[in-house]
């Protein structure tokens, strides 16, 4: 029964929860709310966001957050392969849209932000990461970009700000000969972006757990020894995990008994 529940929960996470989360990020990542009439503005991801998405996917593979060889393979059932590939596609678009949500829409700032993202992701390709460190690093990367765009820059360009802010904004534009010009959106845009990035990071955390779950299959020595097929591995793993507590406890008790006996001697 537990094995059944486990496989159903795994299917639910991989085929419903994760794609839904990532698709929602893809939907909201390009959504802005106009400052003047509070209407929706949908910004399609720029090419550079797609490039950043590709780099991030590579980083996720290198950081073992996506265990590609375990998610897609000859030994897995075709439907499972399709579900996993679909999930990876949604992850790619979510990544591109997550970048889209924190990139300024135009001007020099757009290229500056893009350059720093490219630089960071390119450097990270050559660093050693484990999933936890990678998750932390990505959360900080997106968090910093969010603060810069939706708090600092939005505040500088806000027409509702005080005179000091407006002077600073005007000076900044003047010094940069107008190249730092950025469109101003309603504050709701910042909230939407925050929600989007939170969803994205939650999705990545879930993905890390899902990947860990799948990775356990390979690590288990019994399964490794007998080289079972993927379906058998799942069944075997579930059976082992179901039966684990009692035999382990029993063997531990036996070992403890032996130790005590040898101690007495």
């Amino acid at each position: 029964m537990t094995a059944n529940n486990r496989s159903r929960n795994r299917a639910l996470v991989n085929s419903v929860v994760l794609p839904m989360l990532f698709l929602t990020v893809a939907l909201l990542g390009g959504l802005r709310v106009g400052a003047e009439n509070r209407t929706f503005i949908f910004v399609a991801p720029p090419l550079v966001a797609l490039l950043l998405g590709v780099l991030l996917m590579l980083l996720l593979v290198r950081g073992r957050l996506i265990r590609f060889h375990q998610w897609v393979g000859n030994e897995l059932p075709p439907l499972t392969n399709v579900v996993h590939i679909w999930m990876l596609i949604t992850l790619f678009f979510a990544s591109a849209q997550a970048f889209n949500s924190v990139l300024p829409e135009r001007g020099l700032l757009h290229w500056l932000f893009s350059f720093f993202f490219l630089w960071t992701l390119w450097n990270n390709q050559f660093s050693s990461f484990d999933p936890t460190r990678l998750l932390r690093s990505l959360a900080i990367l997106f968090g910093t970009a969010f603060v810069l765009k939706h708090i600092l820059l939005a505040s500088l360009y806000s027409p509702e700000g005080g005179w000091l802010k407006r002077v600073a904004g005007t000076l900044l534009q003047g010094v940069s000969l107008g190249t730092l010009d950025a469109p101003y959106f309603a504050p709701a845009t910042g909230y939407i972006c925050f929600f989007t990035l939170t969803l994205y990071v939650v999705g990545l955390i879930l993905l890390a757990f899902a990947g860990k779950d799948e990775a356990d299959l390979v690590v288990h020595p019994v399964i490794e020894k007998y080289q079972l097929s993927a379906t058998d591995r799942l069944a075997g793993r579930d059976a082992i995990l179901d039966d684990d507590p009692e035999p382990v406890a029993k063997s531990e008790r036996q070992l403890a008994g032996r130790d005590e006996a040898s101690g007495d001697l």
Binding site: S15, V16, L23, T39, F40, L79
Partner: protein, 166 residues
């Protein structure tokens, strides 16, 4: 529910969601109301508000063209009805028509509207049986609007003042 069923249902559901997202980005609705209208258009259940259409027609016959256009735009917010778009184009034509010159801006807007009407009625040529109109087909109206936006030597012909508005 078996894991396989969950996978199939999940895949179908998420693909439908992805199609919805692509559609949203393609149509770019500006409000939730526009989302609903676009959904009606996509589902084929969209209808023009007949009451507003008639009220606009009444204004059009009284030569209050701007008010008529406003009312037609409210009657057909999705710009999805060929007949309404034809009337909007006609209102631009009538307002822009002058004995000495044509208002180029209004004629260009009229041309856009008549092109929309033609595109919407692509299955068959669009004709409107209204005895108050001088032109009954979208093709005629388009030709008239195009002639109005073109510059030629006939523009300096003094006999031009004798022509009549259709």
């Amino acid at each position: 529910m078996q894991a396989k069923t969950i996978q199939v249902v999940g895949l179908a559901f998420t693909i439908a969601y992805a199609v919805f997202i692509v559609w949203i980005y393609a149509t770019e609705p500006r409000t939730f109301k526009e989302v609903a209208i676009s959904a009606e258009v996509a589902a084929g259940t969209y209808h023009v508000d007949q009451e507003k259409f008639n009220s606009a027609l009444d204004l059009f016959r009284r030569e209050q063209f701007r008010a008529a256009r406003d009312e037609w735009q409210r009657a057909d917010p999705a710009q999805g009805d060929a007949r309404t778009q034809f009337y909007i184009a006609y209102s631009f034509y009538r307002e822009g028509w002058g004995r000495l010159y044509y208002d180029q801006q209004l004629f260009k807007q009229g041309l856009e509207a008549v092109n929309r009407a033609i595109a919407l009625a692509s299955a068959s040529p669009l004709t409107v049986d209204d005895p108050n109109l001088g032109m009954h087909s979208a093709a005629e109206l388009k030709a008239e609007l195009e002639q109005g936006t073109e510059r030629s030597w006939s523009d300096v012909n003094p006999l031009k003042v004798l022509r009549t508005r259709k």
